[in-house]
Amino acid sequence: MADEADDRKQEPRDRSRRELLKRFGMVGAASVVPGGAFVQTASTFAAEARTAAAPPREALETLTAAESDTLEAIVARLIPSDENGPGAAEARAAHYIDRALAGPLSSARRAYAAGLAALNAYAQTSKGGLFASLQPKDQDAVLSEMEKNAATGFTPNSSTFFNLLRAHTIQGTFCDPYYGGNANFVGWDLIGYPGVRISVAAQEQRMGVALKPNHKSAYDDSMFTKRGGGHGH
């Protein structure tokens, strides 16, 4: 893309960022939320959604700030915060993707650069604004068109990029928190995964047994993180 075109987009990008913060209720308040303190249950979430702030953004490792804005807005629609609790934004799925694109998913970096640009171009033509600046209804319409492979301007096509976004958003929402997503175990709590247990008893495999979530990552176990291991096996 030509530099000229980028320059023209600078102003709307800033505006979209403001819109995003406004919708998250973060304007003027974002800096007072301490990192990692975002712990809520699904049942209390809806009531507090309007007043609670999303956790602060992490430093970016791969994406540009503008790409990150767009991606944050996408994941927030794919798995939204709603009456069923926090969604992909709170799970920090976009942070997971940003980190993974520097390493294991690096082969997808170009697809993200091209896809996010195409998505914003399509949002601009079809809805009159960059994706992050649109109302949720219009954002959903753009994603729907992509899913149906009806959105234009994508290489090879819009549904391929949609499927990539969806797969990585699911990974970022439901992965081991070690990888930067599933923050505060919101993904595992949503689907009722009781957490990594290094040993499981017969009784814990019976139907009708509800296990208490233990909020444990694989890497909370010293065997996998310390020299010599901690298990004595």
């Binding site: 798995i79 939204p80 070690y178 995964y193 290094i198 495999q205 139907m207 996998f224």
Partner: protein, 570 residues
Amino acid sequence: MATNLRKTDVVVVGLGAVGGVAVLPLARAGLEVIGLEAGDWLTGRDFAPDELRNNFRGWPQSVQKANTEIPTHRPNASAPYSPRFPIHPMMNAVGGTSLHYWAQSWRLNPWDFKVVSETTRRYGAARIPKGSTVEDWPFGLEELEPYYDKVEYEVGVSGKAGNIGGRIDPRGNIFEGPRKREYPMPPLRGTGFTERMAAAAKSLGWHAFPGPAAINSQVYDSRPACVYHGYCNRGGCHLNAKNSTAASTIPKAQDTGRLKVVTQAHVTTIAVDERSGRVTGVNYVKGGQEYFQPAEVVLLAGYTYENVRMLLLSKSKPYPNGLANNRGQVGRHYFSHNTASTLTALFPFDLNNWYGLPAQGIAVDDWADDNFDHSGLDFIGGGNLWVYSDRRPIGAASMSTFGKAPAWGSAWKSFVKQNADRWNIAYLQKTTLPFEDNTLDLDPTVKDGLGFPVCRITADFKENDRKIGAFTQDKMAQWFIEAGAVAVERGPVGTMGPSTHAYGGTRMGDSRETNVVDSWGFSHEVPNLGVLGASVMGTSGAHNPTLTAQALAWRTAERLTKAWKTIASG
């Protein structure tokens, strides 16, 4: 310039599921053995319960020679190539894919050895599918039984026998052939879900039983019992309760002092003496240096694709079209196991499948092989039905919505919140036959990291395979619905791309015109070259190949020890 190493008795190329077994009888018999392995040693600390790493990222911590040689695929000679797999289905390490496989350790059923003669006897020769190159094995189950038994006890297999010396026990598989004795360990325990499925099978009049697994249900050979933590599917065991060859037979062979393991050894070709036509050893690259390892006997024990590629790459004057290929049989009779045509079910209640392992399940063999009358049917063979307790969060959330919800947004979120633990996918392994035009060869353009062509698969499922697929899905749907499922969804037929169950290419048989190796596993053309692995198998049956490939490997190795003078010195 290659460094010439000291000559050894036997060099084994690949220390995975089969090479790792073969070294034990060789070393015990007093032979000096060198095992060349492309990967490294891994330990329990490498096996964190990590879904992303195991199931999405292909084990990045191990040296992945395999990932530089992923086979290409096209359904037939005039079809376009399929998209290339991002990772190889198998891995490199001491123990190979037996480190992270499901560890289902089945024997084949008697019919699988005699598909041609039994089909002809019962239904007439016209029922052999047109274009199939299937042959009877050169021997029956009874010949392989002692070797199955040895491997079950040396590796360690949990299970319940269904036929000990002809005495049928309905707690095991009533369709299995006679075995000498019980499994060395009882089966892995049941779960609420698998017991529910077993009860449903019983009410249909079917015979459900716990499947065999190379996983400890109790302490065995000083290794602990399984802890059912849920990360066994493409995951290594941090406790060595999964009986990979790295945990079982390879250490025992090392204890003899006669097995030398060389890691990070990338074997490139097998060398030949042009006058005698015998193999003289193998060439390999390690740390950027070239080596030649001379040996009296070479046992090729890579995976199916690599066995075929290694033979085709090893061209010489006596073997201008590749080693052991003067009759053009290397790469023929290829097929990958038909495990597509899956069936997924949705239940109206939680299954509590969050823990467990793919080998902790319940099987039905009533619709496998020739265990039912095919007179009124238009196919031969059948499928094993297998359900198990295995679920991890990313996989759970990636579930089908069964047409009941969109694929994203609030409605999707609400659906997965309710249903993430309410679905189950059956593993359906089906009889698959070799056909004239399903083959392996060298890709004309795609190269590996050293510049050698990768293996090319030209293969697709045929009508017989597809009909078994639909039939097996019907039976599985009936079973799930009997157990209370409210919806079922059929997976597509798929195609024969790179697979963890790849057979043929160096088929075993008495006729040298249609087979690469003889009934002992040694090349018809090259007397001191043996081939190990499912590449020698001519039929798949409806069960996982590993135990059969391991029993065959033990048998080939034992033959070598007994006929050493004939094989090693000609």
